[in-house]
Symmetry: C2
């Protein structure tokens, strides 16, 4: 993803913004008015940069989208790569992964929001959807394994409850704001409480 | 909502479609391509009707939207008006209302889908959002009452878990299809299992 920029060109960008800040501003604007409806000119205007200064940071709007979706997907896939996701009983792994997925969601809220709105309108979006489906399949496998080992109740469909739990988790993008009245720790606690107690055997 | 149509004009509409069928087709198209991006001409083309035949059924695209959102909201508000929502303990009422809300969602899936995508871009959308917020507040009150009576665990925030449970329920619009591989009864069972066991005291 990194493009080689000549130092002279880089200096022409405003000093206040680095690539990550430009990306963050782009994602905010994509979420506000939709990716398709947002032009590089809109982004430049939001940041007070010229269009050519924007292009010193990113080659195209598509590259911004790809990098933004990567932030969300790298985070989720990173959860599955951690030792806690690979060692221990199925129940321990499921608890680890759900808790870590909630952390990724809340740490990278704008990026995950963008990912959840992707509909597959381009190669970049379709590639992101394929990575998301792969993550979902691995989660469903883990729930199935936990069910086979007796730590998820037997009378639910593992594929359905996986979708329901992630549907619950992902729905927080619709209302949760870090600066809002609801505390992040309370939200994390309540998500994990409903998820774990909702599926464990009684 | 009913407009008085002269019999001569009504006869010009195709015999195959009544108002409900035109509404259902409109909602399908709104969900597929977005309300703003859908014109009355698009709707007429989908149904094989002339634009003027469309206008014998509905005065405007806005009237179709209003009626469609009303289908969803009337269903949800109707749940709260039933005896089961008004009689019995808070726990009994909460169980009744959640089960009935799931039924409304699945019975009126395209209409609820449209409602959940409304962003408040017009007076009709803002009125729908106000009705939705009122429903949400009544649900949160019921959860709070159930918590006060000891039938919802004390260590969760009643407003958060209300949002989480409806977030889980509403997320099914993203993937559930009546003709798909997952059975409606299994879905209903699993939603209510996760919701009720997720919040009841242990």
């Amino acid at each position: 993803m990194t493009t080689v920029e000549p130092p002279a060109a880089r200096r022409r960008g405003r000093p206040g913004y680095d690539r990550d800040e430009v990306l963050a501003a782009a994602v905010t604007l994509f979420n506000e008015q939709g990716y398709d409806a947002t032009s590089v000119s809109d982004l430049a205007a939001r940041l007070g940069l010229t269009k050519s200064a924007m292009y010193h940071h990113f080659a195209s709007k598509e590259q911004l989208l790809e990098r933004a979706l990567g932030e969300a997907l790298d985070g989720l896939e990173g959860v599955l790569a951690q030792p806690g996701a690979q060692q221990g009983s199925a129940s321990e792994r499921l608890h680890f992964v759900l808790r870590a997925a909630v952390e990724v969601l809340l740490d990278r809220l704008p990026y995950v929001t963008l990912l959840l709105r992707v509909r597959g309108n381009s190669d970049i979006e379709r590639a992101a959807l394929a990575r998301r489906r792969s993550f979902d399949h691995q989660m469903a496998s883990l729930v199935r394994e936990a069910q086979a080992s007796g730590s998820v109740r037997p009378d639910v469909d593992s594929a359905i409850v996986t979708r329901l739990i992630f549907g619950m988790l992902n729905s927080t993008i619709e209302w949760y704001r870090p600066s809002g009245p609801k505390d992040r720790d309370a939200l994390t606690h309540d998500i994990l409480t409903v998820a774990f107690d909702g599926i464990r055997p009684r």
